[in-house]
């Protein structure tokens, strides 16, 4: 683990471009390399907005503050550049791409990650894909299915994890990857994340979640609580357990005071 955090957010203010409503009001966050951080918060606290802003969703505008990753100014980069720089966002609602197989999709993404002028070796790709599917316990026929088209919630999330495994990011942001999953699907996702962090101990993970239950399977080093667009508490895994017992009630006052 390095001394200065690989991922740093300072005083981040962001708003919805269309309506102009500010969602993040000066958010600070630091994640050192190799750590797993969880961000928990009630609905509407800005959790998903944070995930989208990190990945560069065009719907949001950053009005103040900064995001640095590995010494680079993330806010200067397009979403594809952020991906190439090693940031991966696992979507809360993965998008359907009809007619495009997962294999084809991953090949295109892998090619995009190659240095300029280099061609992806298709045999290497095939080997890697099979290897990754084995690691995540995914059936090889899965890769032939069109991306998220007609997938169950669990299959969509599994697809996100497979993509993450293929792209091998340095920072994985998981946006409510646990939402809408039954316990078996949740375990699949958690096992995937654990397998990947084990394989690559320097990967940082930001788990965004409403519930504590994912954290039973993926152990965070640090837990942050986000309320009304700001981190209001940071602590160890015990914070998640407290939240599980007490809910977000103690933060409601804070939330009300902000509005």
């Amino acid at each position: 683990m390095s001394d200065s955090p690989i991922f740093q957010i300072n005083n981040l203010h962001a708003r919805v471009l269309e309506e102009g409503t500010e969602i993040l009001h000066g958010l600070d966050l630091q994640i050192p390399a190799g750590e797993v951080h969880a961000i928990m918060g009630p609905n509407g606290s800005g959790k998903s907005t944070l995930a989208k802003v990190i990945a560069g969703h065009p719907e949001y505008e950053v009005t103040e503050g900064s995001i640095y990753f590995d010494g680079r100014n993330v806010l200067d980069m397009e979403p594809d550049e952020r991906s190439k720089a090693g940031i991966f966002l696992a979507f809360q609602y993965p998008v359907e791409i009809p007619g495009v197989s997962i294999a084809n999709f991953l090949r295109t993404a892998k090619q995009a990650h190659m240095p300029e002028g280099e061609e992806l070796d298709l045999f290497d790709f095939q080997d890697e894909l099979l290897d990754r599917m084995r690691l995540l316990d995914v059936d090889p026929t899965f890769a032939e299915r069109p991306v998220n088209d007609g997938f169950s919630g669990g299959e969509k999330k599994r697809n996100e994890i497979l993509q993450m495994a293929m792209l091998q990011p340095s920072l994985a942001v998981m946006d409510e990857t646990d939402s809408g999953l039954d316990i078996d699907a949740l375990k699949v996702v958690a096992n995937g994340v654990n397998a990947l962090t084990e394989e690559n101990p320097s990967m940082s993970v930001l788990l965004i979640t409403h519930y504590q239950r994912l954290l039973n399977y993926v152990k965070p080093d640090v837990v942050h609580v986000i309320v009304a667009g700001k981190i209001v508490r940071t602590g160890g895994p015990e914070v998640a357990l407290e939240l599980e017992e007490e809910g977000y009630a103690e933060f409601r006052e804070y939330e009300a005071a902000q509005q």
């Binding site: 397009e78 007619g99 999709f105 995009a112």
Partner: protein, 471 residues
């Protein structure tokens, strides 16, 4: 078919790029259309009298029919037709030099990864001699099976009875104004006969034939698939055809006899000054099956509706089409199926993509005649819009005279969504790559039916097109 092809029958020694004295040797008709022009065409080809008479009759029909007022905008066409040459003798077709080919076209060729020799053919300035070996060995194989695969002129000359028996029977001159025009001035195209029971494993590719003689802008193709035969004919190519001409009007007639199966695949990508008005129709007999696989890219305006007339009991017709309308282009395409006999079945799947100010219209006719008991048909047309300025329209005409016909129609319009783009970009793809992937997925149900090399080329072409769509 590309009309600017290679020179037939000329040895390399006669073949020159520097046409310093070209004017002396060129035979071409006067600009515009007249009886004199038609007579000259027929005389140049040394045709029998009946053909000349058929041409002249067609010319009369052409004059008598008004310009269509439906479909695309043809208001400028009269002027164009007064200026173009309706016939240039193949040996004398105006070769232009490689230097005359616009940079944009050359760049596209390069980026498509087309070898230079092939680039020159496509631009109408060269001949691809390498393919001749392949062609000759295939031709031998076909001849041994009794297959005829000739130019339309050779067909008339060498197989006069067969030719006359079928020519103009599927698409008579009176069918429409442009069919009449083509019937009067046709030049170039293929004549194909597949004997009874012959099944061809290798597709017949017009590509193999194009270095045999030049194809005209008024190509005429006649194909007869005899009983129980099975073949696939491919024409065109996804690379843009560069042409100084601005009008193309082809007629393609296909007769699919009892129990035969025939597939006709064409992918065309015209330069964007081109009016492309094509009539293609198949007559499908008892228990026979016809498939049109039709891809239209480029051109200023394309009006093209491959059709199947299901005249024999149990006949099946299928039309798969892709249209891509780029900036300033109008693709008015679709399909037409006429159910005449009982238990006939058909399916139309049409996919269109509009980018920039491009407009793609689906125009389809599904007709079930009285007596076509238990006819079944399904029409599906899907449009994808790339930009806010892109446009799509659907004109499905359905005429059912027989109760109990089972007819389905489904149309969808979708727009490339911001969420889709963001999702793909968050995986490292540029906006153009993301667009291209979405478009490729959209046309996948049809592209997978294409021979591999065509599908690959089509995908590359879409990638190039999408680069221009961003921003």
């Amino acid at each position: 078919m590309p009309q600017n092809e290679t020179i037939q029958g000329l040895g390399l020694d006669q073949y020159k790029y520097d046409f310093v004295d070209e004017e002396k040797h060129v035979f071409r008709t006067q600009p515009g259309l007249s009886e004199d022009v038609v007579r000259q065409i027929s005389a140049q080809k040394g045709e029998p009298e009946w053909m000349l008479q058929a041409r002249l009759k067609a010319l009369e029909i052409y004059y008598s029919k008004p310009m269509p007022t439906w479909g695309g905008n043809l208001s400028d066409l009269e002027r164009v037709l007064d200026e173009i040459y309706f016939y240039v003798r193949p040996q004398d077709q105006m070769e232009h030099s490689w230097d005359d080919v616009p940079e944009s076209i050359k760049t596209t060729f390069e980026r498509l990864g087309i070898p230079e020799a092939e680039q020159k053919i496509l631009a109408g300035v060269g001949a691809q001699y390498e393919s001749e070996m392949v062609y000759h060995s295939l031709k031998k194989e076909w001849e041994d099976q009794g297959v005829i695969f000739d130019s339309i002129e050779e067909g008339l000359k060498n197989h006069p009875e067969l030719f006359r028996k079928y020519f103009g029977t599927v698409i008579p001159a009176a069918d429409n104004k442009f069919a009449a025009m083509n019937s009067a001035v046709w030049s170039g195209g293929s004549f194909v006969y597949i004997p009874k029971g012959v099944e061809l494993k290798t597709p017949l590719q017009a590509y193999f034939r194009i270095n045999q003689e030049k194809m005209g802008q008024f190509e005429r193709t006649l194909i007869i698939a005899d009983e129980g035969s099975h073949a696939h004919y491919i024409e065109g190519c996804t690379a843009p055809v560069y042409s100084t001409e601005s009008f193309h009007s082809g007629v393609i007639e296909i007769i699919v006899h009892r129990n035969a199966r025939f597939r006709y695949t064409t992918i065309q990508n015209w330069s964007n000054n081109m009016y492309n008005l094509v009539t293609q129709r198949a007559l499908v007999h008892e228990n026979a099956s016809m498939e049109w696989l039709d891809g239209n890219l480029g051109s200023k305006l394309t009006m093209k509706y491959p059709s199947c007339y299901l005249v024999g009991e149990g006949a099946h017709g299928e039309i798969l089409s892709i249209a891509y309308a780029g900036d300033g282009q109008h693709q008015d395409t679709g399909g037409k199926v006429v159910h005449v006999a009982p238990r006939t079945t058909s399916s139309i799947v049409s996919k269109s993509i509009s980018r920039g100010t491009g407009r793609a219209s689906y125009r389809g006719l599904l007709k079930v005649h009285k007596g076509a008991l238990h006819a079944r048909s399904n029409v599906e047309c899907d449009a994808l819009l790339i930009n806010d300025t892109s446009r799509t329209d659907t004109y499905p005409y359905i005429e059912i005279e027989e109760q109990g016909a089972n007819v389905g129609h489904e149309a969808t319009v979708s727009k490339v969504g911001d969420e889709q783009l963001f999702y793909l970009m968050s995986r490292g793809m540029s906006e153009a790559e993301a667009m291209a992937l979405i478009v490729r997925g959209f046309i996948e149900p049809i592209a997978k039916e294409l021979p591999m090399e065509y599908a690959v080329e089509l995908n590359r072409l879409i990638e190039l097109e999408m680069e221009g769509s961003v921003g």
